[in-house]
Subunit: 221 residues, 2 copies
């Protein structure tokens, strides 16, 4: 465990008790790849097709709710966030859209399994992968499907199109992550993400701020 | 209560139960002024004097811990943050530095009373003003006294000089705020603060993100 972590817990014993978060070294995890699921990967969809799909879904089901997981590992004495990267460009949090009527925690487990495990979307539900879904740490709103999201409901939003919720995931001491071949799973230091909306977008770049109340306990062996 | 607030609670009933936050209209509160306390107001201190004072304090007491209150009111169907403004320029959260050995919640109550109530620094302790101090929502660190703060402990920090903690304050339905004449108390919409680090600084401009998990219940009468 690094010196700065010890300093942190001495400085804030009350917060550490309330908001402690165990994280494990990156080396505890195994990373593999598998073939992508059949069908057009969403990342390769044209903008026009995507707009049509989202519009049809909104007409049928109303407000879209997306759920995403914040997964952390330790490397070089600093917390790193696990991000998916599609085609060497955009960064994504693992997660995705809930099905109509689907419960949030159950839907997030399904999405995490489909993005980070062997199982595909439907198997995941039956397998009940052992994701530990923690608290909701942030919530963003979009007025239109492709609009910039805001971390509050602006007074002008009468019918928001999408709600994006971030949940803290408590990882076990060890596990494997199996990622579709069209994506990469990266561990990015919080210090690189913080305030860097140009590269990571407004939601991801605000995650270090959302995590700031936590005292990280690095369990190194 | 505005339409957008209702939409928010319908969209996220689970989150609303976990993270509901009652806020009251600005018109419920009374704002007054009083003479500033004796001595040089910190806002008018020269940079050199401030550097000397902080250095001497660090030598004597080590890591400086500052505690600040996040106070919210409703106006135009949108949450507004209460900020102090000194000399028409910099914006501050009400709060300040803990005394050596002082407990955080007690220290924040003392600071809120000295900035926002009739009482001065020392009376406040005895009067036990009725501030309801809620959870810590964020924590920032400075490597040097005047350095840019970060919402995490960067790996290079071996001995941070300051820890800044933000606590959510649950305001009563009505109360009075009495502010020293050299300051102004302003209610600023979250939509104006979000991402606006140039005007509000990195800590305050990240507060809408920290509050995003909360569903605001506007209690309008």
């Amino acid at each position: 465990m690094g010196l700065e972590m010890e300093v942190m817990s001495e400085a804030a014993p009350a917060a550490a008790r309330e908001h402690g978060l165990d994280i494990y070294p990156l080396t505890r995890y195994y990373f593999g790849a598998r073939d992508a699921a059949a069908g057009v990967p969403r990342g390769l969809e044209t903008a026009a097709d995507r707009a049509l799909r989202l519009k049809a879904n909104f007409a049928a089901h109303g407000l879209r709710t997306s759920v995403h997981g914040v997964l952390l590992v330790e490397l070089f004495d600093h917390p790193h966030l696990l991000l998916l990267q599609v085609r060497n460009s955009s960064f994504l949090l693992p997660g995705g859209r809930l099905r109509p009527g689907e419960e949030e925690v159950q839907g997030l487990k399904r999405k995490l399994s489909s993005k980070l495990s062997f199982v595909d979307d439907d198997q995941a539900i039956e397998e009940e992968d052992d994701w530990q879904i923690g608290e909701c740490i942030g919530m963003w709103w979009r007025s239109e499907f492709e609009a910039i999201p805001f971390p509050y409901m602006p007074p002008s939003f009468r019918a928001p199109k999408e709600c994006i919720k971030l949940f803290l995931i408590r990882l076990p001491m060890s596990r494997q992550f199996i990622v579709p071949r069209n994506m990469k799973l990266l561990a990015v230091p919080l210090s690189q993400i913080h305030g860097n909306a140009q590269v990571y977008g407004p939601i991801i770049s605000g995650i270090p701020n959302l995590l700031s109340k936590f005292s990280f306990n690095v369990i190194s062996d």
